[in-house]
Symmetry: C2
Subunit: 137 residues, 2 copies
């Protein structure tokens, strides 16, 4: 093992993920296949650490792997316009806003249902009643 290369476990620790995930990224082409040691171990260099780090940061921000793929393609061309990247980020922001609004509405509804229940038997439970479709139409 050369002094610059690390095993899959070390790379996983460095990026806050697992060897299984890294192998899976390699299989779907998100990470290039690295060199191998005499004993067939994968050997990663700093460029892998950087690329995997970027992938994981994007995933933690909720980007789909497809979006990350596009982002990685764009960043390959340093002279390119960053408008595409901004657009992807803005799409994700809009998606987040939609999701937050949806969940907040659900939260309100569920909270109302819980508050309306005073305990007792299932037959009397206002949550069950609220969930039953007949009570809606």
């Amino acid at each position: 093992m050369s002094d610059q290369s690390i095993t899959i476990g070390a790379l996983a620790r460095a990026a806050g993920t697992t060897p299984a995930t890294i192998r899976w990224y390699e299989g779907i082409g998100m990470l290039p296949a690295p060199a191998r040691s005499a004993g067939n171990y994968r050997l990663y260099g700093p460029e892998h650490v950087a690329r995997l780090g970027l992938i994981r940061r994007c995933r933690d921000l909720g980007f789909s792997l497809d979006a990350v793929r596009t982002l990685l393609n764009r960043t390959e061309n340093e002279e390119g316009d960053c408008a595409d990247i901004t657009a992807i980020a803005r799409d994700r922001l809009a998606e987040l806003d939609r999701k937050i609004a949806d969940l907040t509405a659900l939260r309100r509804e569920l909270s109302r249902m819980i508050d309306s229940c005073a305990g007792g038997t299932i037959a009397a439970c206002r949550i069950v009643e609220a969930l039953s479709p007949v009570s809606r139409s």
Copy 2:
């Protein structure tokens, strides 16, 4: 087809879902297998409409199918205590709160990244920079 039964398509429309989903629910035991017509069509009665309606309402509120299964079991016993149901609902509420908080934090971070970018080339893009792991350690 008796006057009280409807086909899978009608049931799907009534519950705001699709025939494929209903068949899938039947396969995993969420919905009982209904009677069949002479031509082997599934024939559903009002009890199926009620049960599927409840399932879909719960799913729309973000309950897992597993939680819905438990809910359905509990509601079978009308004299039982509704505490279990309240507990499931409260769990879901807590989960929603966590999720909303997470997404709100992500939204803030992403929004900051977008604001920091003034356009130009990829090399200068602050979003790319913010996503790169080197800028974090």
